[in-house]
């Protein structure tokens, strides 16, 4: 069993520095949240009031925008993001089974992050390389023509004893 690590502490000083660059610019909410996510990996809940105060918005408003966009996260995410494609092409070529296998190997449901913060499992509507279906991505790398053997090669190390 993988070692359970606590989610990392939020480095508020680092985030405040990012926020300071956008102070007073209401329009900059999305670039700012993206910048925070870029550096921290997610947008910690406790920084929402700070973002709101700096931009002259209400905290609830900021939360509304963050929860609206699928690309913005309020929970810490794993080191590796696995995105399994659920697009039509992947679906007809067995994408459902691929997802099932990945879930088993990683012991994760969709949207979950492993307790050791190594993996986050997500599904996407289409990666855009339907010719290679079924597809999945690990971080920025695309893996096409997936089959159980390839999945075992990618995630085999995670199987429970």
């Amino acid at each position: 069993m993988a070692e359970v690590k606590k989610p990392p502490r939020v480095n508020l000083r680092q985030i405040d520095k990012i926020i300071a660059g956008y102070r007073g610019r209401k329009w900059a909410l999305i670039p700012l949240t993206q910048a925070i996510q870029e550096q921290v990996g997610y947008i910690p809940k406790e920084v929402i009031p700070r973002i709101a105060a700096a931009l002259g918005l209400f905290p609830a408003q900021v939360q509304g925008v963050i929860t609206f966009y699928a690309q913005l996260y309020t929970e810490p995410r794993g080191k590796n993001i696995v995105r399994v494609c659920r697009g039509t092409a992947c679906h007809v070529r067995g994408g459902k089974s691929i997802l099932k296998l990945v879930r088993q190997y990683l012991d994760l449901e969709e949207g979950e992050t492993s307790p050791d913060m190594e993996y986050t499992l997500e599904t996407v509507a289409c990666i855009g390389v339907c010719a290679l279906a079924p597809n999945l991505m690990v971080n920025k790398e695309t893996h096409g023509n997936m089959n159980p053997k390839k999945i075992a090669r990618l995630f085999g190390g995670r199987v429970k004893e």
Binding site: G56, F58, A60, Q61
Partner: protein, 894 residues
């Protein structure tokens, strides 16, 4: 502006550019159904029910957001439009529960009304229920999101109208719902429970909770809120003689759809079981019920006996800023003409005297100089010594709207953090009691940097040069030393204020209740005149604590003024009233309320209406003694207050919902109260009580209706001359110009002062006397809290307000708590030179070091015991904002 003509349902109509199709349709009397539209909100086109068809293009427009364009041929009810509307409605109903039978919204539900209008019965779509009731413990608002139709009105009301920002949408698509930050219950969020979202929700998704009386109102009455001085218009819903609900009055130009928690939920006191229903007289030391005749006769006999024994000047009358203008007018006539004493006062004088004298000396008019719309369009707003969120929520909303939506810049001068400081571009935290130095310092910087409005100063004011010389010593360095505010912040504030085209100042009891309150008001007025921000642009907004504080003073319920601030000492003014009333009036100013009850006072008999000096005065224990030792005390009140318990005769008064009359709001609007229900029990409006008492005293007053009194006020009180509400359809007119012929002007001065010129008046910062000193190292601030009001006689008897956050407490800053080793909830004792008080500590991050805060609304924890009764020399009022204390921990819990 160019007119745009379109064809609407076959008829040509014209509007102006920027108008939406819906605006034009409403103006032309064409009905278009809506759910998410409200005139007080920016339109978003969320519900799509207002779809209309543009025939040339075949497009379906959401009419609430689509602007009119030349050549449009709009059809609001074409078969295609109707079919779409029905489909939209059915989709809403498919995710709406079938609980209409038991839903309290009943036929007021707009969704249900529209479904029935369009003949939609059961819906054939697959039902997709939404999540249901959110468990919350607050006693005001209940959210059942299964009934939510995602119109977004609550969110927009929260953000645009009251500018609190407690709620917004969360998530997206079918998971979307309005909620608080981190999805916590309302009581743990920023929500202030103003009830605006409850009033605006078209369905039963947001409802009032724990109502004292249930049932749908059968009739409604528009009247005026009886709490703070904002004068919000209320709509009371009445059923079977009971007030069952309160809503903001829809078309009101004053509060524009908003209220605060007191206005929305603070009316249960009307039907409180503690209401006095019959007169009481003291028999063998106990108060016993009796008839009106008996009670009045005993009251009259008691007062007459005092006159026989010690003369009329030993009588005193204490009136209330919660009574109407008419009642105050009658009361001072009772005092002066019937009882023959000038010792008549009202409770608002304690805190508004500084304003009246300070503004009177400088600008020549004793009140707020503009309407809230002036404040709303100001480019810079300075809020000093006021927390309008608590003391005048409507002003708080206006300031926040100006900042968030109109681009105004806010400068808050307050040692404590308030919600407004979060909106401020500049927040100065001076030491308590050093406002005058700060204001003088600002003026000096403005003069030094030549940012003054030279034209205004030379043409409209006098005494400039001596005043400017008096500012010599208030250099930024000196002011920094006195106030503790960094010099650069002082400079920034001065520039901010002077550079603005229109700048306004909002101040409240944090200024007027200090020992030097009058001087601070003068310093404020000097600053406003220096920058030309009076009459022409911007203005001074003096917050009033009580609903009719303005009116009570205007009506002459004052020891030294007749109605309309005509001096008692002025023989000609006196003669005018003597002729009118056919009586002889006493000469010379009378005693003010504190002098009436001071030790060794000559007063032996008192008539008190609607005031509770046994709690609201400094040194309440001593005041109680003084009241108890009177030969005759007659009290008219709704409840058996601490004061009424000491009376020989107690007369039951009617509440605001049971009487007619007018209140004058802090803006200077004279607004009409309308009777919603008959008086509870045998109670009578205070005006009726005063007239009956006058009759029992053998000098009846010749009024048979309120209208007669109002007419007389118009005739005899100079600046009420144009307030003939009988001629106004909506029953509301503003106190406008003092000059005749300028009726209808929205500004008081138009650049001219009533006396011709504004007068700069030098004021000096003295060493503050009401702050920490040797032996008493902390400064205690006393003030109000949002969920209570005044001394709490009404708010504490209002079941929901009474229960919510109803414990007395002492707020202490985090650093002080650490050095005193006090934890949240520890029992502490505070001691001043005058008294001591046991209470519970609560740690707050709003306070600067060395400062404590305590609310005044809890009689079981009478904070005024700690305050001295000494009167300041200018306003003849006590300093009731702060005092020096020391603090000890009595026990520690854990």
């Amino acid at each position: 502006m160019e007119a745009i003509t379109i064809t609407l349902n076959g008829v040509e109509v014209s509007g102006y550019a920027g108008m939406t199709i819906l605006d034009l349709a409403r103006e032309s009397g064409v009905y278009i159904p809506t759910l998410c539209h409200d005139p007080n909100l920016a339109s978003t086109g969320a519900c799509r029910l207002c779809l209309v068809e543009d025939e040339p293009s075949g497009a379906l427009h959401a009419s609430c957001v689509a602007p009119i364009a030349p050549g449009m041929v709009i059809n609001t009810h074409s078969p295609r439009v109707v079919a779409h509307r029905k489909a939209i409605l059915k989709l809403m109903l498919a995710s709406h529960p079938d609980s209409c039978l038991v839903c309290d919204k009943g036929n007021r539900c707009q969704l249900r009304q529209l479904a029935s209008d369009m003949g939609i019965g059961l819906v054939e779509f697959q039902r997709i229920p939404q999540p249901g009731v959110i468990e919350e413990v607050n006693p005001f608002i209940q959210r059942d999101l299964s009934k939510c139709i995602m119109c977004g009105k609550c969110i927009r009301a929260d953000q645009e109208m009251v500018v609190v920002g407690a709620i917004d949408y969360i998530h997206r698509g079918s998971a979307v719902r309005p909620t608080t930050l981190n999805d916590v219950p309302l009581e743990k969020s920023e929500c202030t429970f103003c009830g605006t979202c409850v009033a605006i929700c078209p369905t039963g998704a947001i409802m009032e909770k724990e109502k004292a009386y249930t049932g749908t109102a059968t009739s409604t009455v528009d009247t005026v809120c009886p709490y703070c001085g904002c004068g919000c218009n209320l709509n009371l819903g009445v059923r079977d003689g009971l007030v069952v609900r309160v809503r903001p009055s829809a078309p009101s130009p004053v509060n524009r759809g908003t209220l605060c928690v007191r206005g929305s939920y603070g009316y249960d006191f009307i039907h409180s079981p503690e209401r006095l229903r019959r007169p009481l007289v003291r028999v063998d030391g106990e108060l016993q019920e009796t008839t009106w005749e008996d009670a009045l006769q005993q009251a009259a006999a008691g007062l007459q006996k005092v006159v026989e024994k010690s003369g009329p000047e030993s009588l005193a009358v204490f009136g209330s800023p919660r009574c109407t203008n008419e009642e105050n007018y009658l009361l001072q006539r009772l005092a002066r003409c019937v009882l023959g004493t000038n010792s008549v006062d009202n409770g608002s004088r304690l805190y508004s005297a500084a304003s009246r004298i300070g503004l009177g000396a400088t600008i020549g008019y004793a009140g707020t100089t503009g309407f809230l719309e002036v404040l709303e369009r100001s480019r810079v707003i300075m809020v000093i010594g006021a927390n309008p969120e608590v003391s005048a929520p409507l002003v708080d909303y206006t300031v926040k709207q100006a900042v968030r939506f109109k681009g105004a810049r806010l400068c808050v001068i307050d040692p404590c953090r308030t919600r407004l400081t979060g909106f401020a571009s500049l927040w100065l935290r001076p030491r308590i009691g050093t406002d005058i130095a700060l204001l003088n310092g600002l003026a000096r910087i403005i003069i030094d940097e030549k940012k003054l409005d030279v034209e205004f100063v030379t043409r409209r004011t006098d005494n400039y040069a001596p005043w400017a010389r008096s500012l010599q010593k208030y250099t930024p360095d000196y002011v920094e030393k006195v106030t503790g505010v960094p010099g650069q912040d002082i400079r920034a504030a001065a520039r901010l204020f002077a550079d603005a085209e229109e700048a306004s100042i909002v101040y409240g009891n944090g200024i007027t209740l200090h020992a030097d309150g009058t001087s601070a008001v003068i310093a404020l007025a000097n600053l406003a005149m220096l920058t030309g921000n009076i009459g022409r642009n911007g203005g001074i907004f003096a917050l009033q604590r009580e609903c009719n504080a303005h009116g009570a003073c205007d009506m002459g319920t004052l020891p030294n003024f007749l109605p309309g601030y005509q001096l008692v000492d002025d023989a000609r003014a006196r003669q005018k009233f003597e002729e009118k009333w056919g009586c002889r009036m006493p000469e010379g100013a009378g005693l003010n309320a504190l002098e009436m009850l001071a030790p060794g006072s000559r007063v032996r008999g008192m008539f008190i209406t609607g005031e509770n000096p046994a709690v609201s005065f400094p040194q309440p224990a001593r005041v109680k003694e003084a009241l108890a030792s009177l030969d005759c005390l007659v009290v008219a009140d709704m409840f058996l207050t601490e004061t009424a318990r000491l009376a020989a005769v107690v007369l039951p008064s009617a509440s605001f919902a049971e009487k007619e009359g007018t209140f004058t709001s802090f803006e200077g609007r004279v607004q009409r109260l309308r009777r919603a229900i008959p008086p509870v029990g045998e109670s009578l409006p205070d005006g009726g009580i005063i007239q009956r008492l006058a009759e029992a005293l053998g000098v009846p007053m010749p009024y048979t209706s309120y209208q007669q009194i109002t007419d007389e006020i118009e005739e005899i009180v100079p600046f009420y001359q144009h307030t003939a509400f009988k001629n106004a359809g909506d029953g509301e007119l503003e106190l406008t110009d003092i000059e005749k012929g300028l009726f209808g002007t929205r500004r008081l001065h138009k650049g001219l002062f009533p006396s011709g010129f504004g007068r700069f008046t030098p004021v000096e910062q003295l060493t503050p006397t009401d702050v920490a000193k040797d032996g008493y190292p902390l400064t205690l601030l006393a003030g109000t809290v949002l969920f209570q009001f005044g001394t709490g006689s009404r708010s504490r008897r209002t079941s929901r307000l009474g229960r919510f956050r109803s414990e007395a407490f002492l707020e202490i800053g985090g650093a002080d708590a650490k050095s005193y080793r006090i934890k949240d909830g520890d029992a502490v004792v505070i001691t001043s030179e005058k008294g001591r008080l046991d209470t519970t500590a609560r740690i707050s991050d709003a306070l600067p070091p060395g400062v404590l805060f305590m609310p005044i609304s809890f009689p079981e924890s009478p904070v005024y015991e700690l305050f001295a009764t000494s009167l300041n020399h200018q306003a003849r009022a006590p300093a009731l904002k702060s005092c020096a204390v020391k603090l000890e921990r009595t026990t520690a819990n854990g």
